[in-house]
């Protein structure tokens, strides 16, 4: 028996692990990302707990006014809004959880309750609009990149038209236009005060920013051998697009989705601050900044609190997005690190 030379033993990590498990392993090693995942989870838990806090501790709703009411703080009776119109400051647990962060202004609404409910609104808008953006962008990017020709021209130019407008200005214009009559598309009617108005606006105006990179990647992928093999086996366009190309876009889509959520939250805040996003008296973090802005000299906390929540949420989502990109697209990481002189030799087990 001839003693044949054996190949070098592959590392346990490199053999038998799927790309998702490898990505997860990389993600677990990225401590910065893990910290911000925890921060984001805490924020989500915070806003999900809004009804519990409102019902059991604050004993009020997010829009309930308390202008003339009084609260007992450590045995002392205090007015929620004083005769000069100044709201009460944070009471922490001095009144059993009522007005934990104080009142939000002359209407005497509970700031903590509004911060929690406002967070639900902001996150819901950001997530839902990011879903809409991502879904439509992927479909359009796939169609344009796969079919090329007239389909590509038509879709790409339409996206260029949206791209030509500054995002915020376009969103403000749509917000103002839909502020009175709402939106009616065939049988679908959305009233002007509905939360779906800012969702659709934000979801719509950001499509090109995801659709174009997806299209570019599809243009590249459709020339690969596995696509030719699928076509040779008789696969139709739909199967090629959604069965072959889409799975290969998964990492890109996930990364774009997280970044879209962060961007959409910023856009929602800006629109609500300008009065064309979430309609009062409903709270969102952007709308709360606008409310607090009127009292910035006497009660700066009313602006700082929602601003800090936006900062933390957007920061955590951006770091998570970066972490996911690093985990799902190691080549990009190696390229980046190589550029910085930090790359390990290619093929090193991870």
């Amino acid at each position: 028996m001839v003693d044949q030379p054996q190949p070098p033993p592959a590392s346990a990590a490199a053999v038998g692990r799927g790309p998702w498990r490898v990505a997860l392993r990389r993600l677990r090693r990225n401590r910065g990302t893990l910290v911000f995942i925890v921060v984001f989870v805490l924020i989500v838990l915070f806003v999900l707990a809004a009804p519990l806090w409102a019902d059991h501790l604050a004993d009020t709703g997010p829009n309930a006014t308390h202008t003339l009411e009084k609260v007992e703080v450590d045995g002392e009776i205090r007015e929620v809004v004083d005769p000069a119109g100044r709201p009460i400051g944070p009471l922490w647990f001095g009144a059993g959880g009522k007005f934990f962060l104080g009142a939000d202004g002359r209407l005497g609404r509970d700031e903590m309750v509004r911060l929690m409910y406002g967070g639900r609104t902001s996150l819901f808008i950001a997530l839902t609009s990011a879903l809409i953006t991502t879904l439509l962008a992927v479909v359009l990017g796939l169609l344009a990149g796969y079919y090329r020709g007239w389909t590509d021209t038509l879709i790409s130019r339409a996206l260029d038209v949206i791209w030509a407008f500054p995002v915020l200005l376009l969103a403000i214009a749509l917000g103002i236009a839909l502020a009175v009559g709402g939106l009616q598309i065939g049988p679908l009617t959305i009233s002007s005060g509905s939360i779906w108005i800012p969702i659709l606006i934000i979801g719509g105006v950001l499509i090109p920013y995801t659709a174009r990179p997806v299209r570019g990647q599809v243009l590249s992928l459709r020339e690969k051998d596995f696509v030719e093999a699928a076509v040779a086996q008789g696969a139709g366009p739909l199967r090629v697009m959604f069965g072959e190309l889409l799975p290969n876009l998964a990492s890109t889509i996930i990364v774009f989705f997280t970044i879209n959520v962060a961007n959409n939250m910023l856009l929602e805040s800006a629109l609500s601050f300008l009065g064309v996003g979430v309609q009062p008296p409903n709270a969102s973090w952007g709308a709360m900044i606008a409310t607090g802005n009127d009292l910035i000299t006497s009660a700066p906390l009313l602006t700082i609190l929602p601003g800090t929540m936006i900062l933390l949420t957007v920061l955590s989502l951006n770091v998570i997005g970066d972490g996911l990109r690093d985990a799902l697209d190691p080549k990009a990481k190696i390229r980046l690190e190589a550029h910085a002189g930090l790359a390990e030799p290619e093929g090193t087990p991870v």
Partner: protein, 541 residues
């Protein structure tokens, strides 16, 4: 020596004359640029269309009607004085004919001579534009037909360009017509002024200032009217010439920023009332030197659309009045509002204090239970200016506590009256409104706001759309009569009759403020009860 003495005397006289020419009677200086701020752009800078105090303040020193209100503060400012007309009108034919004569030699700011026929053209233009102010003038013979057809002229206005004579014939006597001729709606504009909203390019005027540049939504500027000193000033002694050379007004949405700018001196005046959270601080620090509280004759209220459920039921409207707590409103306005529950505010003839609906949430809920309205979905309209939008948010909460599903609709202040005054706008259920006197007569709080004839498809001012024939007739009858003690008592009774039907939920009358930089002489600033601050009165120290 004699010669030297004469030269010395002449020199002394010259120095004195020069000194006097550069100083006003109060010792301030002439010239300079006044920088002011507004919280939002006025609803219009077209005198025929402007309906808000903000817009009237902006145009008081620019457009002069045939008659005008004295450029004075307090009660004196409610006095009607001749403007472009030589004198107050001669009233004949039992109060149905008004005769005026245009002053000779007047010119618009573009140099065009002012003609008597321009008045007829201006009134026709106002009707063609469906101005909210047109209800004041439908009593002119043929005006009602013209308002419908928009053609054929108004036979009740006869003018003679040669003599400057203007004769206005009314279908019936109208005791308030002299006051109404002093409103900006019928200011005299060149006959060829386009029949469209001219906010972006305001038409030439005859006052001491002309608007030379507007950026709708952002800013507008004035220069001295080049024709003022040459022609108009000497002809209109009741209209002051103004002190500053230029006025620049910009929109600063945040009133706190406006206060800050005035305190730093980067702005000389803020038109907006001091925001509630800074009010006491500013008052304590600057009252008397840079800050002054100004009383107004105003009513702040929520209108309820009496033609649509649920507010077509008087019990629902009364319930809303019972549920609204004036004390809460007073606090929301941080002391700059005094609660009232009636149509006529203090200060207007005919005002008699009463309180038909003292705060009683229990009674309000009982009335709602009795009415049991089937439609409980309500849209509540408000503009976006604080604290009006906060007062409306409180009102929305009150409606929800009464068992309604009330949704708030907040609209930019500059669009608010156009939208809510257009009857084709959907969901006009209830909303916020303030009303400042156009002229010191109780009719001003009834006819435009509550008379059936004031329900207009556009520029509507009867927001509650109440149309009670009996009360309409009473308004019409009283408007013909000269105001006296009997009429005042009747207006007071009319106030009660309307509030028994509760088309509104009135909640207060307001004081506003004048706040100027340390460079401006506060004592000189005139606050007219109808027009607000007079831009021609601002003078630097």
């Amino acid at each position: 020596m004699k010669k030297f003495g004469a030269v010395l005397a002449v020199a002394c006289l010259a120095v004195v004359a020069l000194s006097l020419s550069s100083c006003s009677s109060s010792g301030g200086k002439e010239g300079g640029t006044l920088n002011g701020t507004y919280a939002s752009f006025p609803d219009s800078l077209d005198p025929a269309l402007a309906r808000t105090v903000e817009a009237w303040t902006a145009m008081y020193a620019t457009y002069v009607p045939l008659l005008t209100y004295a450029h004075e503060s307090g009660q004196t400012g409610s006095k009607v004085v001749p403007g472009l007309a030589e004198s107050l009108p001669k009233i004949s034919s039992g109060g149905k004919t008004y005769t005026l004569t245009l002053r000779k030699g007047l010119k618009y700011s573009d140099g065009t001579p002012v003609k008597a026929s321009d008045f007829a053209a201006s009134v026709e233009r106002m009707f063609k534009l469906n101005s909210g102010g047109s209800t004041f003038y439908t009593g002119i013979v043929g005006a009602e037909k013209f308002a419908e057809t928009k053609s054929g002229g108004i036979p009740g206005i006869k003018t003679d360009d040669k003599t400057g004579k203007i004769v206005i014939e009314l279908t019936q006597p109208r005791g308030t017509f002299t006051s109404e001729l002093a409103l900006l709606y019928v200011t005299v504009l060149p006959a060829d002024t386009p029949v469209k909203n001219m906010t972006a390019d305001p038409p030439p005027g005859t006052g001491p200032y002309e608007i030379v540049k507007t950026e709708p939504g952002r800013s507008w500027s004035y220069d001295r009217n080049p024709q003022w000193e040459k022609n108009n000033a000497a002809l209109m002694p009741d209209v002051p010439s103004g002190h500053v050379d230029k006025i620049d007004i910009k929109v600063v949405g945040n009133p706190s920023t406006q206060v800050n700018e005035v305190e730093r001196g980067s702005s000389d005046w803020m038109q907006t009332t001091i925001p509630s959270d800074l009010y006491n601080k500013v008052k304590e620090k600057y009252e008397g030197s840079q800050f002054r509280v100004e009383p107004t004759i105003s009513n702040y209220f929520f209108w309820m659309n009496t033609t649509k459920p649920p507010f077509d039921d008087v019990k629902v409207r009364q319930a809303v009045n019972y549920a609204l707590n004036g004390a809460a409103m007073e606090r929301i306005y941080a002391g700059s509002l005094k609660p009232i529950q009636q149509i006529l505010p203090p200060g207007i003839p005919g005002y008699e204090k009463y309180e038909l609906y003292p705060y009683d949430m229990g009674k309000a809920k009982q009335l709602i239970a009795e009415a049991n309205p089937s439609d409980r979905d309500i849209t509540v309209w408000t503009d976006d200016e604080s604290p009006n939008n906060e007062a409306t948010a409180y009102y929305q909460d009150v409606l929800n506590k009464l068992g309604f599903n009330a949704k708030l609709k907040e609209v930019a202040a500059e669009d608010y009256f156009t939208l809510t005054g257009n009857l084709s706008t959907p969901d006009l259920d209830t909303g916020w409104l303030d009303w400042y006197q156009d002229y010191p007569h109780p009719n001003d709080f009834f006819q435009p706001l509550l008379a059936g004839e004031s329900i207009l498809p556009q520029e509507n001012s009867n927001y509650a759309q109440i149309d009670d024939p009996k009360l309409n007739a009473k308004i019409a009858r009283l408007s013909k009569e000269t105001l006296g003690a009997t009429q005042e008592a009747e207006y007071a009774a009319l106030d009660r009759e309307y509030m028994e039907q509760a088309p509104w939920a009135p909640y207060g009358t307001r004081t506003v403020s004048t706040f100027v930089s340390s460079d401006v002489n506060l004592d000189d600033v005139v606050f007219n009860p109808t027009f607000g601050q007079d831009l021609a009165s601002f003078q630097f120290k």
